[in-house]
Amino acid sequence: MTEPDKRELLRFITCGSVDDGKSTLIGRLLHDTGMIPDDQLVALAADSRRLGTQGGDLDLALLVDGLAAEREQGITIDVAYRFFHTAARSFIVADCPGHEHYTRNMITGASSADLAVLIVDARGGLTAQTRRHAVLCNLVGVRAMVLAVNKMDLVGHSPAVFDAIVADFTSFAARIGVTLVGAVPMSGLKGDNVCAPSPNMAWYDGPTLLTLLETADVRADLAAAPLRLPVQWVNRPNPDFRGYAGTIAAGTVRPGDAVRLLPSGRISQVARIVTMDGDLDRAVAGQSITLCLADEIDCSRGDVIAAADAPPQSANQFEATIVWLDEAPMKVGRGYWLKLATQMVSATVQQPKYVLNVESLDHLAARTLDLNAIGVAELATDRPLVFEPYADSRVLGGFVLIDKLSNHTVAAGMLNFGLRRAQNIHWQALEVTREARAAQKQQRAAVLWFTGLSGSGKSTIANLVEKRLLALGQHSFLLDGDNLRHGLNRDLGFTEADRIENIRRVGEVAKLMTDAGLVVITALISPFMADRDTVRAMLPAGEFIEVHIDTPLAEAERRDVKGLYAKARAGQIANFTGIDSPYEAPVAPEIRIDTMRETPEAAAERIVAYLNGPHRDTFQLLE
């Protein structure tokens, strides 16, 4: 018997609609290749009698449907990975869900697959789901597809039915640009044409499904491409050793090779390829290695070590294709974490240029992306990303977006290209620095960002703080949310998107003022944590001081200084924070003011003391 690790590995996914017989087909593959141990067969026979849908016969789908909840519902709800092998190849099957709401799991399964098996019920022909799955697979770079026309036993093994489905799919495949590796008429339930040719379909002289999987040629030669090594971890056990660890995404590396470090652009040479079993004289794509360089140069997690003569690009604005995976729709302009290879940056997405209708392939206009939507949009990052178009590199072109509040993975994306304008606008270096401006005023710039419900006391306390700073001879400026809405932000309403833009503008103005050396005080409800964190990320560490004016909703509503709560309760104001729009309280604000226990004067005193306190290092109070 061949050693399992010596066989070539093929990763494929199976996709189909609910009830196309996907689980049964995988069960059939496992069973007929002899992967099911006797004790599991015994358990299966018992389960089949209790839960099976095949009368007293073995229900092979039960081998695959692992989770209790889905057993009860009778559908697959998550990605399951199965393993089997033949003499020719080892296989990892990602069993992808057919249920409409679980597209994100299919994308997950497809992202690491070499080939897709699309299962179609012969009775129903191609469905919207089949087309959606084909488009999704193609989108994440699975170009090789096998069409499995299942349940042929239920259409009398008719060649006409089979030919019609294949013709239908072939024209669709041509439009989206995928390669149809083969089409097989089969029955997962009965085993026809799965692992053995079917006596019921003598008219079909092509290979069985298993033969197709054993022979499909899907591998690209990554070892021949220019070197790409995203640095995952810097190994520094002692001052004498500094190694850069990571998995080679593409190319081959040897000691002595000239390499370029990105984004710095510095050039060095590979000194050693270190492993526990001794140094290597070469390493290729797919290997996890630790490199030592000839020069002591700065290189950290997120950097990319690349072939010196063929480095990848870097940019901070892109066009990307995005698949939205979260229940909550995308927030245009909201800051999300973007993770690409080992790089993590903050990114904002523009309104989509279009979303793709996966059946008609039409481009439709859209204001945002909802769950399962596939769209093309421009995005901007706060720092340059080292990248390659996804078509050239899954590793340096594929990314996920992470919600900053819930930490959920909300989207998967593929970079199409970097935008020229980002490459051509350079920062003008300013000769009088922000530090010089602040020093002239004998202070350190900062933003005191007040957040809290309407009527919580933000403006009252902010005014007291400003008076106190004036008395101390400090230079400050108060940006009041209501006042700004009369001018700079008068075009904005109170929808979530407008609120995000409101905060972004105030954040930018505050940042300009700190560049001028001022202490900026902002008084805005600023209900969303992600937006406050976006402003925090715009400023140097320690300059953003979040002040939570914490007043319970009942108390703010009782005070109702401006009569707004009454109006909101009466339905005259929509999207009112605390009533029909959420307020996300800061988790760890620098300062929290409990207005039920502290007077505005005491609160202002405490804020000023924090601003000028010893932990804000260099600043000394004026004499």
């Binding site: 989770l67 209790a68 393993f83 994308i107 992202s111 190994n235 997690r301 899954r394 993975t409």
Partner: protein
């Protein structure tokens, strides 16, 4: 593993000392070489561990200079719950899952490496490589993060943690092939030797010490046996075998027609029991 070390605040290696743990330890030594693995090793000792397994654990800790933490249930619980008096579920919850959760919380670990493999058990087939647990260490199989490409989202809210399964895509055959290829040191119980045994409930139990009272009609018999998987000794069935070295173990495994966890009595019960234990916090 390096990805977790780069992004987590306080990772820990759940060291069961079994064959999967041995492979994972070997991978950790390689991944961080020449640095030692930059995290502690946590062993949950039930009090019913094989003596050979504890000896092997201490040998590995000494050889590689590992930072070992041993966690166990309280003495009172250990006296109250034994493999002979408690059902499998109560036993696992009290002596294994409980101390594990307590240790993870007490040390503030936010990422834990485990040796789980997708081929072991049906519910594990759906496990992610990075598996998220709530603040109470519960697993919600319907609400796991998508894992695209090799990109892992490791961001956590305070109190949440992740279980990391680097061996997710390995099969039992891969584990043995790798142990043979890399000449990894494993607990001798995986190799056949004559051992005192008793047959009970269709399983062969090796009498590791004198705490198991024999029922009338039962007698200790010397058999040549080995283990495919190691749990607590009174709850782990051995297989009759003469395979005393790695090549013969591998040959036997390839000819075998029963699955690996067949000898784990902890799995017996409702078909979905592993999934329920996982939701409660079992690895």
């Amino acid at each position: 593993m390096r990805e977790v070390v780069a992004e987590a605040q306080r990772p820990v290696f759940l060291y069961s000392v079994g064959k999967d743990s041995a492979v994972m330890l070997h991978l950790a030594l390689k991944a961080f070489y020449p640095a030692p693995p930059p995290f502690p090793f946590l062993h949950i000792a039930s009090g019913w561990d094989f003596a050979d397994l504890l000896a092997h654990r201490d040998k590995m800790v000494a050889r590689h200079g590992l930072d070992l933490i041993v966690a166990s249930a309280s003495d009172a619980d250990q006296a109250r719950v034994t493999p002979f008096t408690a059902g499998a579920d109560v036993y696992a919850e009290t002596l294994l899952t409980g101390p594990l959760k307590a240790a993870l919380t007490a040390h503030g670990f936010d990422a834990a490496f485990g040796g789980g493999r997708r081929d072991e058990e049906k519910s594990r087939a759906k496990e992610r490589i990075m598996s998220f647990r709530s603040t109470s260490h519960h697993w919600d199989p319907k609400n796991q993060r998508p894992e695209l490409w090799d990109l892992y989202n490791l961001r956590l809210s305070p109190g949440e943690s992740i279980r990391v399964f680097p061996l997710s895509n390995w099969t039992e055959a891969d584990i043995w092939a790798y142990i043979a290829q890399e000449m990894i040191d494993i607990v001798p119980l995986y190799l056949a030797a004559p051992r005192p045994t008793v047959e009970r409930g269709g399983q062969i139990i090796v009498l590791d010490d004198d705490r198991m009272a024999l029922a009338p009609g039962e007698a200790a018999t010397l058999r040549s046996v080995r283990f495919r998987t190691l749990g607590c000794w009174p709850l782990t069935g051995a297989v009759e075998s003469t395979a005393a070295d790695l090549p013969s173990v591998i040959a036997e495994m390839q000819a075998s027609t029963t699955s690996e966890r067949h000898g784990r009595m902890i799995d017996v019960g409702a078909a979905a029991s592993m999934e329920q234990k996982k939701q409660a916090g079992y690895f």
